[in-house]
Symmetry: C2
Subunit: 257 residues, 2 copies
DNA sequence: CGGATCATTGATACTAGTCAAGTCACGTGG
DNA sequence: CCACGTGACTTGACTAGTATCAATGATCCG
């Protein structure tokens, strides 16, 4: 807690501008209308919700939630992906997760943000003030149920990630990540393996990958090269991975004995 | 997912026995009556809740939730502490958190348990079947609000733990842990430092500590010895730590620059 | 007192980090 | 169209921090 204002000393983000307001005031064509929270509401209810929201467009690499700052807003992402992370004063960074369309951010019942959030691509989101959200919950208790479901799932994911960060080797982390990423992209069902030879976009940079998996970019690169050399994956280009042998990846990821 | 049934091959737990039923059918003298979920309810409501619950007493080191098993029950802890963990087939273990009186376990909306839970001491808890809980939520929507608050706080804690596991050195992990443990014991307010020279019980074994911090017991022991040699802590006995210089600990924990 | 268990300390090994050089892809401008 | 520059990635050589292996010490309990 000593000097959190320093955490952006490196990797300086694009200056934030939340002033540029509504582009789409209707929710009908919103990318998140059928996802996440809004999916739990009727059209009328979403209309009510929309009147409490400000619609914001953000450029790539914009930090719109900064750890330690006053938590004035909640956010519901409409389009684009963001990374969530925590940093140490000396610049070390841990990405704790990713959030896409339908994800709801900033709900912790604290007055300060407990993590930072940065766009990875152009992002559109709805912003709610903390005061307005209380009324929304009052109006739609179903939202709490929905948020509880989401939060429990996030907890499951973070427990998996703790096992990965605390106990897995570099190659196990990479293999685990590739399979969980396939699940996230819905290339395969939760808990199931993708079919051999499926191709998968990987929009993350090696730096993001390293900061998510608790490794360095060099180790990430070497581990990917190893998996490629062993014929478990192919890497046609930086942002695409082909899972040649998912079962073998799984054996590594789960340390099968 | 290859051979989860092997995870208890070592560290074999005491055989579980959930058959020994009610000791206290009244909630009045329950250790959790003024904590966690039950604190959010009136006496009448708790009475209703109690009729849906089975009261269970467990011996120390009893695994009562096993990862991969069918998730038939929810649990509310009344007294005693438990460790939550995930394991790899070769025995590596990551403790993902601890739960005490008032904590609610097993809520994830999956049909299989996504983690294991083991008592650390004699534990009393209330057990609810998954079917009964739906009715309870129907009856008391306030519980969902409460659970959401708890879940969000758990998420904050697990993000902190991910930063620790992914990016902190051994000595930083130990220093961070000692301060967060002081917070958990309410020796100091959340985010604040304890006063110098406060004594703190540490009921964890070195093995638990290592499995929680992603280290080995040897590294835990060495790091504690270092902190003692440097005069930041004292260790009068294995299960007690005196925080001589909390500010210095914090400087290490947060990597102050 | 003896044995078991857990913790500490020491010596060594190994994984992943650091430092540095080289490669590749891409966009710009001559 | 190609030279150049930039940034991201890969690969190699070496180092450092933590794990592993092993021995010793402390504590508890019968």
């Amino acid at each position: 807690m000593t000097s959190l204002n320093k955490i952006t000393d490196f990797r300086r983000p694009v200056a934030i501008n939340l002033a540029n307001r509504p582009t789409a005031s209707s929710c009908d064509d919103c990318g998140a209308r059928r996802h996440g929270l809004c999916d739990a509401l009727s059209d009328d209810e979403v209309g009510f919700l929309a009147r409490a929201a400000q619609h914001v467009s953000l450029q790539p690499n914009t930090v719109f939630i900064e750890e330690g700052e006053a938590a004035l807003y909640f956010y519901n992402i409409n389009s684009g992906n963001v990374r969530l992370f925590k940093s140490l004063p000396d610049g070390r960074r841990q990405i704790t997760g990713f959030a896409g369309p339908g994800h709801f951010l900033g709900l912790a019942a604290t007055t300060k943000n407990m993590f930072s959030a940065e766009t990875m691509e152009p992002v559109k989101l709805c912003r709610f003030s903390r005061s307005s959200i209380a009324a929304v919950f009052e109006e739609f208790p179903v939202l709490e149920r929905k948020l509880l479901d989401v939060a429990m799932h996030e907890l499951v994911l973070s427990q998996q990630q703790m096992l990965l960060l605390g106990r897995k080797t570099a190659i196990e982390r990479i293999a685990s990540f590739l399979l969980s990423w396939a699940e996230r992209l819905e290339i395969c069902a939760s808990g199931a393996l993708p079919k051999p030879n499926v191709s998968m976009p990987l929009p993350l940079s090696r730096t993001d990958l390293a900061d998510y998996l608790g490794l360095t970019i060099e180790t990430v690169s070497r581990s990917l090269s190893n998996l490629k050399r062993e014929g478990l994956i192919d890497i046609p280009n930086i942002h695409e991975i082909i899972l040649l042998r998912p079962q073998a990846l799984s054996d590594i990821a789960e340390a099968a004995v």
